[in-house]
């Protein structure tokens, strides 16, 4: 299994998307097909943006298993999602004006992530949120 780890800093709007770009390039170098790669990139980018605009930063772990699953784990350090059901409703958003000025806060982030991923799991408490998504590549 191959594993990579990336850090995401709180409110680091200037670099938002840089990790997703690195993930996309890394997986491209492993020969992942463009259709799967695009789905991973969309999910990773939305989740990275969420960590920056909603959470207090955290880490992204990328695992490529021997049986052809690409797994991304986004673990932030809080403050957690108070109502997961609402957060998964298209159009529902708690994004700040600053986040909206960057083009986000449409209330489609988690919805998009769930739509493009093959596996989706999210656990949240005041200590933080852990989002795990998986993609089958073979």
């Amino acid at each position: 299994m191959l594993s990579e780890k990336y850090e995401v800093a709180r409110d680091d709007y200037a670099n938002a998307g840089r990790v997703s770009s690195q993930v996309k390039q890394y997986l491209s170098s492993l020969g992942v097909s463009s259709d799967v790669l695009r789905r991973i990139a969309v999910a990773c980018y939305e989740a990275e943006i969420n960590m920056i605009i909603h959470a207090w930063g955290g880490a992204i772990n990328l695992n490529v298993t021997d049986d052809g699953v690409i797994q991304l784990i986004f673990k932030d350090v809080g403050p957690g999602i108070t109502d997961l059901e609402k957060a998964l409703t298209p159009g529902w958003s708690t994004a700040s004006e600053e986040a909206r000025s960057f083009g986000f806060g449409a209330g489609m982030g988690l919805v998009n992530i769930k739509r493009v991923s093959d596996e989706f799991d999210i656990v949240s408490s005041e200590e933080g949120t852990t989002l795990t998504i998986g993609f089958k590549v073979s």
């Binding site: 998307g17 695009r38 969309v42 960057f102 209330g107």
Partner: protein, 121 residues
């Protein structure tokens, strides 16, 4: 519709184009939005043939294009990129144009000349 025709219709000017051959590239569809999650949600196929029009003139519009493999962005309302963001566009090799048209007018002009919308399913 060729890039050359698109920029004539919009009276657009290039901010970054790698080489002159790009003006002969065809784009069959366009999508317009300032909300990047909508772009990420709605553009589902024919990525390399889809043109993105936006008023969101920052690195996030470029990152969104990068994730979707879009090759060309047009900024409306006369917006231009700062130097750092322009460098990012060059690094990603995404062609960038700007037009003084509003979003409404830019879309109207292109649609009237036959550039289709994307299919939303």
């Amino acid at each position: 519709m060729k890039v050359l025709d698109i920029i004539k219709i919009l009276n657009a000017k290039p901010l970054y184009v790698k080489d002159e051959d790009f003006y002969n590239v065809d784009f069959n569809r366009a999508f317009a939005s300032d909300l990047m999650s909508d772009v990420l949600a709605l553009i589902k196929k024919e990525f390399e043939e889809t043109l993105l029009l936006t008023g969101l003139c920052n690195a996030q519009s470029l990152r969104t294009a990068e994730m979707l493999d879009l090759k060309c962005l047009i900024y409306v309302r006369g917006k231009e990129l700062d130097q750092d963001t322009l460098e990012l566009a060059k690094e990603m090799d995404i062609a960038i144009f700007t037009t003084n048209c509003t979003m409404y007018e830019a879309c109207g002009r292109l649609y009237q000349k036959g550039l289709s919308s994307i299919d939303v399913v």
